[in-house]
Symmetry: C2
Subunit: 316 residues, 2 copies
Amino acid sequence: MSWVVGVDIGGTKTVAGLVSKTGEVLDSIIVPTPTHDADAIVATVVECINTIGKSHKPRAVGIGVAGLIDVTGRNVAFAPHLAFVDFPLAQRIEEQTQLSCVIENDATATAWAEYRVGAGHGVHSLLAVTVGTGLGGGVVVSDALMRGATGTAGEVGHIPWVLDGVLCACGARGCLEQYASGSALTRHAREFVASGHLDAQPLLTACDGDIDQLTGNLVTQLAVAGDHACMALIADIGTTLGSGLSAMVAVLDPAMVVVGGGVSAAGELLLQPARIALEQRLIGGAHRPVPPVMKAQCGELAAMVGAGLLAHESAI
Amino acid sequence: MSWVVGVDIGGTKTVAGLVSKTGEVLDSIIVPTPTHDADAIVATVVECINTIGKSHKPRAVGIGVAGLIDVTGRNVAFAPHLAFVDFPLAQRIEEQTQLSCVIENDATATAWAEYRVGAGHGVHSLLAVTVGTGLGGGVVVSDALMRGATGTAGEVGHIPWVLDGVLCACGARGCLEQYASGSALTRHAREFVASGHLDAQPLLTACDGDIDQLTGNLVTQLAVAGDHACMALIADIGTTLGSGLSAMVAVLDPAMVVVGGGVSAAGELLLQPARIALEQRLIGGAHRPVPPVMKAQCGELAAMVGAGLLAHESAI
């Protein structure tokens, strides 16, 4: 059996594992991403590759990155959550591992994983959005990844959403990502606790009274456990996500929308409000098929799996 | 030489003419669109085809429509500005003309015209937006029209723009079309004149003191003639258009943006503010190529020409 190492460099954590040609995963590990230091990120990735490669010798490396890949497909042009600016990531990994390396935007890699071996198996087009630290997007059109003219297609998180809104890590104000992501969930939860609302007591208890320890992840866990205030916080993100999807679906008209990323662990608590908002807001919604909104099947490993599949295809 | 009849059914007027395989146009005519009556629209189109077909017998008909075409490519599913709901337009035209007929969304047809014989000649992907009564969009990706899973891709005018904003003809509130179109220009101009501002005097004179006669077209004419207030009204539309383009470019990453439709007659007065806003607002704008924003070369006939080219290709 032939294996590659798949890696997903996210704005919070880096995931790596062995990936087969059909998307099976072996020996995956998760480590924190040293987001503020490009060299440290490279060192982390190389260490992951070396650790994982001990059991089965990989033939190549595929890396999903939470950032814009340039048109050469070799460099990270810009990453709102990582210290990469015009950074030759593929070359650096190849030099330090002696393995050929392909890189791709993480959400684009997620789209490819879901299209090839996940929720989108069988459709010819899909939009995958990753609701994590940020809000990423990847697009498959006519059975092929839509990379765009400069390699940066699918950046759905940075469409303008609120005029003069919350400052985004990308430098602009009011991006959709600031209202429909794990970061938004964290901010909303902290505002909610700070308001002193009685219903915030479970959240305050869960973070040991330290509001700075409150994360979207924690909110998601409490929501799944049945806390009504946290369910409402998730539903609010879902509704905004669905309105945002109406913009993307109007432009792309995909056969399916797949939702991944950490917040998608909330499942229907996130997806059902998103579906309702999408159907209400989509142009001609009553006179056209509205695409189904599905949870990513590859889960939190989707970007890693997609990057691995791309490495397999590139190494053929 | 082989000719087809190209038709563009718009929210205000219908244009028709003979179109050659390479986009040459003969005998074009313009008539008002009877927007509120589907049968009357068909009768108008048939009359245009019969009139134009007298000089050269056409081999087919291609129609661009300001509406959503369904997945069969034969019916108009929904049209915000026309009385078409699940309407079998292609069949009706074929029955009454004995010519084979293809139909396509008008902005998608415009994109094809600009890609094949216009500003986008030579690029492999482009986004065409038509700034007319409404705001339409058409997309070429990898040298092919992006029709989407249900035939409705490219509906850029109906992405949510302002929460609880101006009611749109599509039924939703706050669509981008309500802030970046000829209709928006008309509304803004009327508000400006109604405000009693001294600088509105030329506008008031131009419409003979009747504010209801004020149109976006008139504003465009005065702006091109150098009226500063009208130039500012156009620039405002251009800035909003450019911000909106930043959403579409983030998602689609096209090699070029082509701007057509009636308001594009304002040329650089519209395009330059749009370019500035696009560059300012686009994700990673400083770290990636920003696509050029060009005026449509096929002008007001673009949708007609594109529909004609599609009819030629379909009739091969």
